[in-house]
Amino acid sequence: MHDSRLLSSTTLPWIAFLAVALAPLAMSSSWTNMAILTLLFVHLCIAWNLVGGIAGQFCIGHSLFLAAGAYTSTLLSIHLGITPWIGMFAGAALAALIGVFIAWLSFRYELPPLSFALVTIALAMLGYLAISSIDFLGASRGLTLPVRGTPAMYQFRSDTTYYVVILIQVIIALALSMWLYHTKIGLYLRAVRDNERAAHAIGVPVLKYKMLAMAISAALTAFGGTFYAQYLQYVEPHTFAGINIVIQIILLTVVGGTGTVWGPVVGPMLLVPAGEWLRHSLGGSLPGVHLLVFGVLLVVVIRFAPDGLIGAFGRARQAWRFRRGATEVVTR
């Protein structure tokens, strides 16, 4: 009984996820680009959710981590010829370091939740402005990656290979997030989210776990940054360090359901393809119209399901069970 429930609550979503995620492999290559973009956002949302959802720290500074990943691997590749396969770990280490510093800062100065959001937004803006003005980083023009065209340099001829790479990244991130959520660490993080003082009082090492969550989240985001840079073959501040992408990550996670394991998967998997579809069907007519419709869609979901689609789904299932239970009583 217990085992079968465990099976249905963890295995079924995995099967469903893999079925949907692998489907583009069987489809024409025109779908691959969209699938890559979708999985990239799934990856970034899972990473953000570790801090923004599970640990409940409303962080708007994730553009810093994305940029750390993208710029570090790119610079190492351009100047020292180091393969991004190694560079990505340097980027992740840098991002983790920045993340740990932010977590320490907010803990040391006891920032309340909204002040934490403001500090991270300010740091993100400082990073963006700095990157856009430093020539070594390409300033606002950005940097183009040298064409080397070999898998050893994280460059592939076929989009399908990029797709496989990001799929593997997502699976790792998802497994990690699931493991974190269900172990002691996740329990502690959720305790910190619900009541930091109480968590501290019962002996949860709050700072340690905040730093840990931030480090993992930052490193994962940086891996996404390296991947995105390699996929686009260039980096520039607006895409990689602007807060717009963070706003997108947050909104996609919110629509799926913050603080849940599957929310950051469901949100982007539904909405990124929807956004791309809107762009194809509406984009030619008026500039911005597809993003407007997309934005309205987001707002409507937040209005009617502030706890996200996962939360709404849970409520609906509960209501259905309740009704079924009630009819059973009546028929008996």
Binding site: Y109, V254, L298
Partner: protein, 288 residues
């Protein structure tokens, strides 16, 4: 660098600061309504600026004449939006509210992009391209008038909040909403009106400063961030604090870009914000 140039930059910074303070005060008013952090704040003002453009293009209505119209229009927009959209989401928590406003950023920016396109636009007014010259200072009339009106509007807002029954009700809800309910205050309605006034003020502000700015659909976020900075540095809800913080940010931005270039000038407000949040978490003039 000559003293005249520094003086010029300082005066311009002070004038921008007055405008920043007004935007921050309307943000504070909205924040006082159930703790909503409005990330779409600047976007509402951008919407008003484009509204002034549309009124000029369609009816040859000058932005200054359109200002009252935009106030009432935006008041209504804010009132209805609070009732139908913000309030139900806010019931799920302040974070959900903040996330909703992030969604509104998306909606408004792309609405403007769709209707007006992505090009830089400007709105001609009676004051555009005219300067007041008081040697050694040269002051653009739009900025001068905009900043003076901002001070007047901020003072009116202060009097309304501190000296009227309506203002006392708004503050009562902020300080203790349960006790406010016991006074028979209709919290929903007062909050909706306060939110409406906050958004209405943005409509008004957009109209009176539109001549000073070049319009682009994504301009709102910068204003939001500046307003957040001024609001936090000034200490939430402190009128004098917002004025001083506005002046600090305006002058440091203006002098910073004069002395060290535009990027450093733009970075200074964020650096100040980080430092203030860390060392004076309740702002320069904040209470408790």
């Amino acid at each position: 660098m000559s003293a005249e140039v520094l003086l010029q930059a300082t005066v311009q910074g002070l004038q921008m600061g007055a405008i920043y303070a007004l935007i921050a005060l309307s943000m504070t008013l909205i924040f006082s309504v159930g703790g909503l952090l409005n990330f779409a704040h600047g976007d509402f003002m951008a919407l008003a600026m484009y509204g002034a453009l549309a009124l000029y293009q369609s009816f040859a209505l000058d932005a200054y004449a359109a200002a009252p119209l935009l106030f009432f229009g935006f008041f209504l927009l804010g009132f209805l939006m609070f009732r139908r959209l913000v309030q139900p989401v806010l019931a799920a928590g302040v974070l959900a509210g903040a996330q909703l406003t992030l969604g509104l950023v998306f909606v408004q920016e792309n609405f403007l992009l769709m209707v007006f396109g992505g090009d830089y636009l400007s709105v001609p007014t009676v004051l555009s391209n005219k300067n007041l010259v008081i040697p050694p200072l040269t002051m653009p009339w739009p900025l001068l008038v905009g900043s003076l009106l901002a001070v007047v509007l901020a003072a009116i807002l202060y009097v309304v909040l501190m000296r009227t029954d309506f203002g006392r009700q708004v503050r009562a809800i902020t300080q203790n909403s349960d006790a406010a309910a016991l006074m028979g205050i209709r919290i929903d309605r007062v909050q909706a009106i306060a939110f409406g006034i906050g958004i209405g003020l943005l409509g008004l502000t957009g109209a009176i400063i539109v001549a000073q700015f070049t319009l682009t659909p994504a301009m709102g976020l910068d204003f939001t961030l500046i307003a957040l900075i001024v609001m936090v540095i000034g200490g939430l809800g402190s009128f004098a604090g917002s004025m001083i913080a506005g002046a600090i940010i305006g002058v440091s931005e203006s002098l910073g870009s004069l002395l060290y270039g535009g990027t450093v000038g733009a970075m200074i407000p964020y650096a100040i914000l980080v430092l203030v949040l860390l060392f004076r978490p309740h702002g320069l003039m904040g209470e408790h």
